[in-house]
């Protein structure tokens, strides 16, 4: 008979690890089971090409909840977040738009494009700051069920109502706009510079199968604005050692609290006895019993694969079946012999260009057309890209003088016409590389190695269904008390003793850890 655990956590992604750390901290006997040889899920660092380390999937950190960093003392476990300070958008006419870390520099740069936008930018920033502040408390709360009359739900709804009333009319109106508009329409209300709107709107489409003109994308804009580091909103950073180092630091904290983490240990089934989860079955057939089982996988795997549908209410199964994944992004990781030179800024602004992000979003039309390709089942011929050079900020990522380049690419639809093949993957990689080459001639000659990741690869390697990077689209109908299904947004599931903790639950998305933490708190409350 195997050792008995209080809690088994399926999946050693960052959320699963956060759940494990919090539960172990509370004195539970915790076992994390990870299918791959290393923890991290989509937040992993791997040496894909000798000497070159890549944050293979997720590549920047911003939303990691500050309370998790404090509670788990992550800096002591190796977490070091380095600032990512600027964004440069090369334009097709050879010009560029830059947002620098210094306010005066940014203002002067925007002024070059539009004096009015230079001022609107500050006001927009202030509004988004308020909006982020308004939405922030929601990220840390268990979503109440608006249809429930349970005292806990009513109290939470009341608090929420008060919170929104306290925002004041002006901000409440802005919030409603953000919740309903497309990012393009929302940005049109603020700015006249096309390239500025294009670059801003890009953060409204990340991880969704929507274009900048699709309603609802304004909220995703805000979701990305909520990035917060050291109490500063809109701060994005690199984890030293890549995003895998974030996972490793959480794993280290979890182990320090007494959690056991086992890799190469894929779970095939959740054991159910007497309509209650009683343990798991590993790929090799081993059964491990536990009083509580937590899945940090996405909702489809959690409910449709690990558990037999007959243990779940059929309406719930139908809801989960309808839950949208629609992976739309890919990733190209490149080992470079040197840094590419962009036509728009040959001197790289004295090194600042490569220390920040390069956004390939030269115009609204460009981004919308990239979506058009995807809408009809093709990858974007000229895709939106978010490019960073992690080795410039963290030299340990590549051999001296050499560099790693991370290209987040959208759109690459999971359901490609005719399906993804090796040839299609390489064609997609070529489209990415050729597009970069058009803004940075000579780039191709610097490439030592390239790794092209399609949504199908994301699904195959990390297990994220349809390769959706948020474990389910960040669409309004799939958020808060609707994530992943109405009535089941509070980390419990219809199966007793079975909990959900991944990004497919509220609040979802990004290396945030909030889902994992809230799930742990819920489990502790239920077991108290």
């Amino acid at each position: 008979m195997a050792k008995r655990y209080d809690v088994i956590i399926i999946g050693g992604g960052h959320n699963g690890l956060v759940t494990a750390a919090y539960l172990a901290r509370a004195g539970k006997q915790v076992l994390v089971l990870e299918r791959r040889p290393r923890v991290g899920g989509a937040a992993v660092t791997e040496e894909i090409f000798p000497g070159f380390k890549f944050s293979m999937f997720s590549y920047v950190v911003s939303l990691l909840r500050p309370e998790i960093i404090r509670d788990l003392d992550l800096p002591r476990h190796g977490l070091h977040i380095l600032p990512l300070e600027s964004t440069v958008t090369p334009m097709e006419n050879g010009d560029y738009l830059a947002a620098w870390s210094d306010h005066d520099d940014t203002r002067r740069e925007l002024y070059r494009h539009s004096p009015r936008d230079a001022e609107a930018y500050d006001e927009y920033g202030r509004l988004m700051h308020f909006m982020a502040q308004a939405v922030k408390p929601i990220l840390g709360m268990v979503p109440p069920d608006p249809t429930s009359f349970a005292p806990g739900d009513l109290a939470a709804l009341l608090r929420l109502g008060k919170h929104f009333r306290g925002l004041g009319a002006e901000r409440l109106h802005a919030l409603v706009k953000l919740m309903t508009m497309s990012s393009a329409d929302f940005l049109d209300e603020w700015f006249e510079t096309d390239v500025l709107k294009a670059t801003k709107s890009a953060s409204g489409i990340i991880g969704t199968f929507l274009g900048p003109r699709s309603p609802g994308t304004a909220y995703v804009l805000l979701h990305h604005y909520m990035g917060e580091l050291d109490g500063v909103f809109r701060a994005w950073g690199f984890a030293k050692g890549g995003t895998g180092a974030v996972s490793e630091s959480i794993a280290s904290a979890a182990r320090a609290f007494g959690a056991e983490i086992r890799c190469d240990a894929g779970v095939t089934k959740v054991l159910v006895r007497g309509e209650r989860a009683t343990g798991v079955v590993l790929e090799d057939g081993t059964e491990i019993p536990a009083s509580t089982v937590v899945s940090s996988l996405d909702p489809r795997r959690t409910f449709l694969q690990l558990v037999d549908a007959r243990h779940l209410p059929s309406e719930f199964v139908a809801d989960i079946t309808r839950f949208k994944f629609r992976g739309s992004s890919g990733k190209v990781n490149i080992a470079l012999a040197g840094l590419p030179t962009f036509t728009c800024m040959p001197d790289g602004a004295g090194g600042k260009l490569h220390r920040g992000a390069v956004s390939i979003s030269p115009s609204m039309e460009y981004v919308e057309r990239a979506y058009d390709d995807a809408k009809y089942g093709e990858f974007s011929r000229r895709p939106y890209m978010d490019i960073v050079f992690p080795s410039v900020i963290d030299p340990g990522m590549a051999p001296p003088g050499k560099h790693v380049m991370s290209i987040f690419v959208q759109y690459a639809p999971y359901r490609l016409n005719g399906g993804w093949t090796d040839a299609k993957r390489e064609a997609f990689g070529d489209a990415v590389v050729n597009t970069v080459e058009s803004f940075a001639p000579g780039f191709k000659s610097l490439i030592l190695h390239r790794q092209v990741i399609t949504p199908v690869d994301i699904e195959r390697i990390t297990g994220l269904s349809e390769g959706n990077i948020f474990a389910g689209e960040l669409a309004l109908q799939q958020l808060f008390f609707l994530r992943p299904a109405p009535g089941w947004a509070k980390f419990a599931t219809p199966l007793r003793g079975y909990y959900q903790a991944g990004s497919g639950t509220h609040p979802g998305g990004g290396i945030m850890g909030a889902s994992g933490r809230l799930a742990a708190l819920r489990i502790l409350k239920d077991s108290a």
Binding site: D104, R107, R116, E119, G350
Partner: protein
């Protein structure tokens, strides 16, 4: 990417002995040219100090409805102002909370130059809907020098080769200095006799040279922001983001102020048509503002005693400070806060600019201001003093 130099940098750069620069609206300007700002301060009150004030935001507002636009934006009555006049004025949001303050020069019936501490282009545009007006940001192409002090008029008269006795306080005139067309306004930020000279940025350096040459026999002294800060506190002139927050930057309601709360009630016109914040300001005037902005003079004897208690002679700050310092009534209740303060070398007085609840703000009221003496928080007695602390007759004469 670095901060920008002003058009005078070819001259001001080499003058800087300690490379002490400060940011101002995306530019660098001298904190002080010499290692101490003391002599620069005394030049303001004793001879003439020359300041580079080019970073100010400047807008040219022109067209048939230019006065209408400005009248809608600011609280002073622009329509009534005459050509040649300069108005100091705040402007407010719809709730009567102050956004910024600056000046408006009436260049002709249809042309106005507006100065502002913050970028204001978008705000002017937002208010110009339906009006026939053109708004031009001339911040970069207009350079400006401020010549302040008792000798400033004589120096300018020599440089411009004309009599300026007729140029009254807050008036401006066109002139030529060594063939360079300039506008001279009798304005400044020191509360002294003084002028500001506006010039096309291309002529900046020759203008500097002309003024320095004409002024050398009179003790003209290039001066930086540290000296200016002392003088503006003596003059009771408030500074945005220091003494008040722009309502557009405030994060919470209590960070906002109305002109009536900032001692600028005199700038809020009662004789003009609708303008931003009018209803709120009129209502506030009727019920009386809850806050007052005024001076506070720290009692020397009290200061001396606090230091004597730890065995030290009294100390005064060597530079003006810009932090929030609590102010209490004699019973120990906090009734306000100081936002700027410092030692006046001229008046030999420790002065502060304070926001006080109206009930504690009448001149002469005895209060206490927090002073840190040898790492410990103490309270020195202080007296409410009307602004300005220093108001020489030559300012308007």
């Amino acid at each position: 990417m670095s901060l920008r130099n002003t058009p005078f940098h070819a001259r001001t750069g080499p003058l800087s002995e300690g490379q002490a620069w400060r940011r101002w609206a995306g530019y660098v300007v001298a904190s002080s040219y010499e290692l101490s700002h003391e002599r620069e301060y005394h030049a303001i009150r004793n001879a003439a100090a020359l300041f580079d004030v080019s970073p100010l935001y400047k807008y040219l507002v022109s067209g048939r409805d230019a006065a209408r636009l400005l009248d809608h934006v600011v609280t002073r009555n622009v329509g009534k102002a005459k050509v040649g006049q300069v108005l100091y004025t705040p402007w407010c949001d719809g709730e009567g909370k102050q956004i910024d303050d600056g000046t408006i020069s009436v260049l002709d019936e249809r042309t106005f130059r507006m100065t502002a501490a913050d970028p204001t282009l978008r705000w002017l545009y937002l208010n110009s809907s339906g009006l026939e007006v053109s708004i031009e940001d001339v911040s970069e192409r207009t350079a400006a020098l401020s010549l302040q002090g008792p000798s400033s008029r004589e120096i300018l008269q020599i440089a411009a080769q004309r009599d300026l006795a007729g140029l009254k306080y807050f008036r401006h005139t066109s002139a030529q200095i060594r063939g360079i067309p300039v506008t001279i306004s009798r304005t400044g930020y020191t509360g002294d006799l003084g002028f500001e000279v506006w010039v096309d940025a291309a002529h900046a350096v020759p203008l500097w040279d002309a003024l320095m040459e004409a002024g050398t026999p009179y003790g003209i002294t290039p001066a930086g922001m540290l000296a200016l800060d002392v003088a503006r506190i003596e003059a009771g002139l408030l500074l945005i983001e220091v003494d008040y927050f722009s309502s557009r930057h405030a994060l919470i309601e209590s960070q906002k102020s109305s002109p009536l709360e900032l001692g600028l009630g005199w700038t809020v016109a009662t004789d003009k048509e609708r303008y931003n914040g009018q209803a709120a300001l009129e209502a506030e005037r009727r019920r009386g503002p809850s806050w007052q902005f005024t001076g506070l003079a720290v009692d020397w004897d009290s200061l001396e005693q606090l230091y004597a208690a730890v065995g030290l002679p009294p100390r005064v700050p060597s530079q003006a400070w810009r932090v929030s310092v609590p102010v209490f009534d004699p019973g120990g209740r906090q009734v306000g806060y100081a936002t700027s303060g410092g030692w006046s070398p001229l008046l030999k007085q420790y002065m502060a600019l304070v926001h006080l609840e109206s009930s504690s703000a009448s001149p002469g009221t005895q209060l206490r201001m927090e002073i840190t003496v040898e790492h410990r928080r103490k309270q020195a007695t202080a007296r409410v003093t009307p602004l300005p602390f220093f108001n020489p007759g030559r300012k308007r004469a």
